[in-house]
Assembly symmetry: none
Homo-oligomer: 216 residues x 4
DNA sequence: TATGAATGAGAATTCATTCAT
DNA sequence: TATGAATGAATTCTCATTCAT
């Protein structure tokens, strides 16, 4: 909003990187607030404090801007995930951390959920044009496979768990609750985003996943 | 060009109920395909085979049409859920059936997922204006509470499971996988909607939930 | 608004006169509130408590309905004017009465002003199609001519006053003040419709006209 | 068909001031011809020779365009009025000039009358949002107060004449005659806008006002 | 690198009017 | 006499995008 640099043209000297970042930030916020269809190029320009024309200069069109935003969003979560170093903690703790991380990341970055929603509405049309997206995800699967294997070999986890399947479950448990909190709290007539409710959800999800994984 | 009335005026005789149903059906398909923002009233009219004006005659605006569609969609799933008679089967089987039903319903009605996505993007703005939506969901919670209690009293299920929490988990496990299948299959570079993949997912979800619920 | 007869169809039995009057009343209110262009046939039907189709049954179209309303409005003021019996009072008093009557009639019937406004915007397009309108006004001119003549012959009034000219002045003095009271009170930043302001205006107008007419 | 841009794109070079003026001119004509409700944005664009979208670019909406037109219209008459320098001529002549000016201005600018009509139909809704309109009118009242005072002090005019009241009368005498000339000439079945009729009216109005003001 | 001016193709919504009973 | 259902033609306003500098 009150970005000083947007006010005058003197404060916005020729700085390509900065402008591009401002545009991506603004676009992320706009797409998250209104979805791809509802987002307005005018508002993005205003939010970024740049002339609308500049957006087209750097990003071909609304659609490729959306893809750029998407890719940067995936990079964000994946790089933080990497930083968890799950291969270096014991399996049960690794799972706990992954669940908690996913949960907290979604809470901290609600735009990520909305972005995915939009992209799915459009049948991953944009993502399918991305060349780097798939490569970005193999480390995640590798890591989780490693954790599961260590858990199984240590006699703690059940056998035959598919890491992709499990990841989708872990993500889905948080995603549905948080991404659909508006409709869920309406239909169940119950607050879902209060501090207590959040703690309960994290606890429930952890119990659920570990109750399944850990053999007795 | 392809004016509906040009086909034949006999195909749309004066029938208020029929016209309204046709409009709702067409709107459901359109909203599912394009989301609220992307849906076009023109296309809805064409799909329904009615004059665009008639939509406004029966439904105030695009937004209230959307709400009407949403309400009917919730009615659809909830009434089929009721028909499962979960209170009359033993607890483990009841949970199995609920998971399988949810999974299959989402597969059979992908529009339902898209509709929810859209509504959440709009922060349940429409649903919050609905008067009947909350009442529609209490039986579901009741039923699930009953199943959980019977399971616990029979020494089969663990204690202290919140039915709403569990329902959200069961729904979320299917919802995320199916609703985000486009992005997921892209990022994991793996087909998720083939017959085999579907069977595996259902099996995984059932194992996950029962692995958690059933005490040893 | 709360017209009982509009509520149910039993209370609106086949009564052509009543329906027509209800429609005219409703149309008068609607045209006064929104002008010809802004008036809505839907709202007129609602206000009248009749089906929209019925309006077309009795009155050909919106435009002829407008003419019917106009004619009835002129009939209203002219017939009350006749009832003043100006030919039977002495000239100065007759002028006083005419000014006061005009002023009070416009206050009591603001719709009349709005109707005239609309009709003039449309260059009297409708009125020009009326066959009875001109005949309706000759008595008025006659009466005023008689008053002026008696005044002159009695040595009270100045000579050579054109009755039509005078009538337009008398009407204009009230019409502009009342019909434009919204803009006038805004531009002069002063209330014009309070009880005191109204008395002052009537007094000013009477002084103005008599100050001119009465010779010393 | 007759798309403006099709003529030549050179005729509309990038000139913000010019475009805005063209739009205001076109809007004035359109609003005068059809009133606010009847005016069409399409026609305004065509009249101005600009793309319809440009109107919304400079003026938010039809309504704020209307306000802009209104304000400019008031500025027009008030500034010409100022140029009369009424404070520098003797009182009787000043009144004569004001009456004649008002009369001639209305004749030369019939749009002004229609505009006021429309604004009053809408209860000064737009004007009330204007910040500058009231300030625009105090000089006028001042000037007239000065004339009246000089006239009274010189023993020529009667005492106690309210300048606002008098201005409304002077304006009203012309306004009603000219603005309602269509209906008036119809109901009185007599031409009002011929050269002779006009002279007579101006003479009548002057006699009326001075007959009232000037003491004997 | 950066921008204010300008636009064509739609978008939702409105409205007087007619149809069928 | 009376009405609910249905419609074609506008109408205001929007939007991504391009032009000229």
């Amino acid at each position: 909003m009150a970005r000083a640099s947007a006010k005058t043209s003197e404060t916005r000297p020729r700085n390509a990187d900065r402008s591009q970042k401002d545009i991506l930030d603004a676009a992320l916020a706009e797409f998250a607030d209104y979805g791809l269809g509802g987002a307005r190029m005018d508002r993005i320009a205003e939010r970024a404090g740049v002339n609308k024309r500049l957006i087209y200069y750097y990003f071909e069109s609304k659609e490729s801007l959306f893809l750029a935003v998407l890719e940067r969003a995936y990079e964000g979560i994946r790089s933080e995930e990497q930083a968890l170093n799950l291969t270096q903690v014991e399996p049960v703790e690794a799972i706990r951390r992954l669940i908690a991380f996913t949960w907290n990341y979604y809470i901290a970055h609600p735009e990520f959920l909305t972005l995915l929603n939009s992209e799915n509405l459009h049948r991953a049309r944009h993502l399918k044009q991305s060349t780097k997206i798939s490569a970005m995800h193999s480390p995640l699967v590798q890591t989780l496979a490693d954790v599961l294997e260590r858990g199984h070999k240590g006699g703690i986890f059940r056998a035959g768990v598919d890491p992709v399947q499990l990841y989708i479950s872990i993500a889905g448990l948080s995603y549905f609750y948080l991404g659909n909190s508006h409709t869920l709290s309406t239909i169940f007539d119950r607050p879902l985003l209060g501090p207590k409710a959040k703690l309960e959800r994290l606890s429930h999800m952890t119990d659920l996943v570990l109750g399944y994984l850990v053999r007795d």
